[in-house]
């Protein structure tokens, strides 16, 4: 389907207080193909965290923007990203999910690369003509790779006009910094164990869902009940609010956005709730005291007593709520995505604090949590509803449009920002 003035993909009319998304964008395989080129191949896309490859030779293989990659630490201690395809005739060079290697050997004909990507050796080199130069056959890297606070991103756009990762992240950096402030050294790490699952829904629905507090009371009532039943104080929402505490939705530039909330749900750093158990109290108090000493009262309160769901456009979500989850996802098909989620914690966290963090994670997040399965159900339910997109082409996204100034976490200003950026890139207007 093509975008025409009569059938746009996104209608954004602030004066008319009208905003709608064309449901074809969630079903049409041609639109997905265009997204692969105009979104995933032009934006900075999250690959992994430096803590996942600590020592020289540590590696992880994963697929990003549809490309199999080797994410590893080279001999000089730099985090590197290689395309996981042999320079000979294309086989995957590394087929293990993770490990440590001095060399990566392609099993097909035996070409061997070192951890800096150079072609180290190959069987029967003498049969190649004299113009064969081994130095030209290093593992290929994506055009650009950069990192911010340990989060490594790549960019498949080889053009000269690509903005730096720093500029790209824009206002999202402030929130990444805030999350990293949980750690005394400022360094966070990915905790072992990852949750990888498919959702039979368009990938953009998870971008929306990951920071949409409007759905919380309806979709997650069983989770809210669970908090209440375990003794968490749940205030009645104030006038105009839907949740026990105040929270806002904010746009951060380049399509990034956040919901930024006063906490009511407990935080491993550092607000105790009864679910953690009495035994956890001293540890939470110790963490709180460390925050105050290091950051001062105000910033400590900002870290500990507020929680946030950050969307880094287009497909990285860092939810710093009941725990910190780093979640990234990409399309397999217009109606199918793969999701990977990990837990993030301060590098120097004590075993006791780590255990609280992981336990708290599982109350809400993940495919066995008390909330995420219902999100998956919601997204798959939306996708099923998309079958009638020709008869019912529009989804409405106008919450908060009549308000001046502050937008709530249950409004949709931040969701609109995702779609505004998506539409801009899809029109080729970046």
């Amino acid at each position: 389907m093509n975008q025409t003035p009569d059938t746009p993909w996104v209608i954004n009319q602030p004066e008319a207080m009208h905003f709608a998304v064309n449901r074809a964008t969630l079903v049409d395989p041609q639109i997905l193909e265009l997204e692969r080129r105009r979104i995933f191949d032009t934006c900075w896309i999250y690959v992994g965290h430096e803590s996942e490859v600590r020592e020289p030779g540590d590696f992880r293989t994963r697929t990003v923007c549809g490309r199999p990659l080797i994410f590893c630490r080279d001999s000089k201690g730099e985090a590197r990203v290689y395309l996981n395809t042999c320079r000979h005739r294309g086989s995957l060079v590394c087929r293990e999910p993770e490990g440590n290697a001095k060399y990566f050997t392609c099993f097909y004909h035996g070409w061997t690369y070192d951890r800096d990507g150079a072609l180290y050796g190959l069987p029967g080199q003498s049969a190649y003509p004299p113009n064969f130069n081994r130095a030209e056959f290093a593992l290929q890297t994506p055009p650009k790779v950069a990192s911010y606070r340990g989060f490594v991103f790549l960019n498949f756009d080889s053009g000269a006009n690509v903005m730096s990762l720093d500029d790209y992240l824009a206002g999202a950096k402030e929130y990444i910094d805030l999350i990293c402030d949980q750690s005394p050294s400022g360094e966070m790490e990915i905790i072992p164990g990852s949750q990888e699952y498919d959702i039979r829904a368009n990938w953009k629905l998870l971008a929306e869902n990951s920071f949409d507090d409007y759905h919380l009371p309806a979709t997650h009532s069983t989770w809210l009940d669970y908090l209440k039943n375990s003794g968490v104080e749940m205030k009645r929402p104030e006038k105009g609010h839907m949740l026990p505490a105040h929270g806002v939705g904010k746009v951060l530039g380049n399509g990034h956005a956040v919901i930024d909330n006063i906490n009511f749900r407990g935080r491993p750093v550092a607000r105790w709730i009864p679910i953690y158990g009495e035994a956890a109290k001293p540890e939470i108090e110790r963490i709180r005291a460390e925050l105050v000493t290091r950051l001062g009262e105000a910033r400590a309160a900002r870290v500990a007593d507020t929680n946030r769901n950050l969307l880094v456009f287009p497909n990285l979500v860092i939810n710093d709520g009941s725990s910190v989850t780093v979640r990234y996802f990409e399309p397999r098909a217009a109606d199918n995505m793969v999701v990977r989620a990990c837990a993030l914690g301060p590098k120097e966290e004590t075993p006791a604090a780590r255990a609280i963090r992981l336990d708290s994670f599982l109350t809400f997040y993940g495919p066995g949590g008390f909330a995420t399965p219902d999100d998956i159900e919601a997204l798959e339910s939306v996708q099923a509803g998309m079958a009638s997109y020709r008869e019912m082409p529009w989804s409405v996204m106008t919450r908060g449009m009549a308000k001046e100034g502050e937008q709530l976490n249950t409004d949709e200003r931040h969701l609109r920002e995702f779609w505004i950026q998506w539409d801009k890139l899809m029109r080729g207007a970046a």
């Binding site: 999910p97 993770e98 072992p192 164990g193 699952y197 375990s230 780590r354 599982l362 993940g366 495919p367």
Partner: protein
């Protein structure tokens, strides 16, 4: 008298029957007051939930809360409820003494939902059973899924 495999099998089949029938309150009575129920992350099947992210790592309070949740029609992932059918085989007694029996068994759990293709959970159960009143109580119940990722299984929204 040593525990026989048949006694263990009878117990596991009875448990499977309760879960397939969604008789969750009755199922809770099979558990000890300090029971745990775990599903490790697919990429770290042999690990400890204190330092590794799991899919499920419930203590008895969380198990009871899970049942409370699953009994509600607002547990959307299981409303309408899926139908499940558990096949349990290759039951082995690994260790036993007068108080406890450690066993493992293979499982296939089929999950059916309307208009959806079948979900097949394949893996291994590890149980620690306490010997009680000529039967058993479940002290620990770990379900290790063989799939490398949950993949199209999407979530573990029922009691696996």
């Amino acid at each position: 008298m040593p525990v026989t495999r048949q006694q263990v099998e009878d117990f596991l089949y009875a448990e499977a029957g309760l879960l397939d029938a969604w008789k969750l309150d009755e199922w809770l009575t099979l558990l000890t007051d300090d029971a745990v129920y775990r599903v490790p992350s697919n990429d770290k099947p042999a690990s400890d939930p204190k330092d590794t992210l799991f899919t499920i790592a419930d203590d008895i309070n969380r198990i009871r809360a899970r049942v409370t949740r699953l009994k509600k029609t607002t547990a959307h992932a299981e409303f309408p409820r899926s139908r499940t059918r558990r096949l349990i085989t290759n039951v082995r007694i690994l260790e036993e003494n007068a108080q406890t029996v450690k066993i493992e068994a293979n499982f296939i759990v089929y999950r059916f939902r309307r208009n959806e293709s079948v979900y097949q959970f394949v893996g291994q159960y590890r149980y620690e059973l306490r010997v009680a009143d000529a039967s058993f109580k479940i002290a620990s119940r770990v379900a290790i899924i063989d799939a490398m990722e949950l993949g199209s299984l999407a979530s573990v929204s029922f009691i696996l």
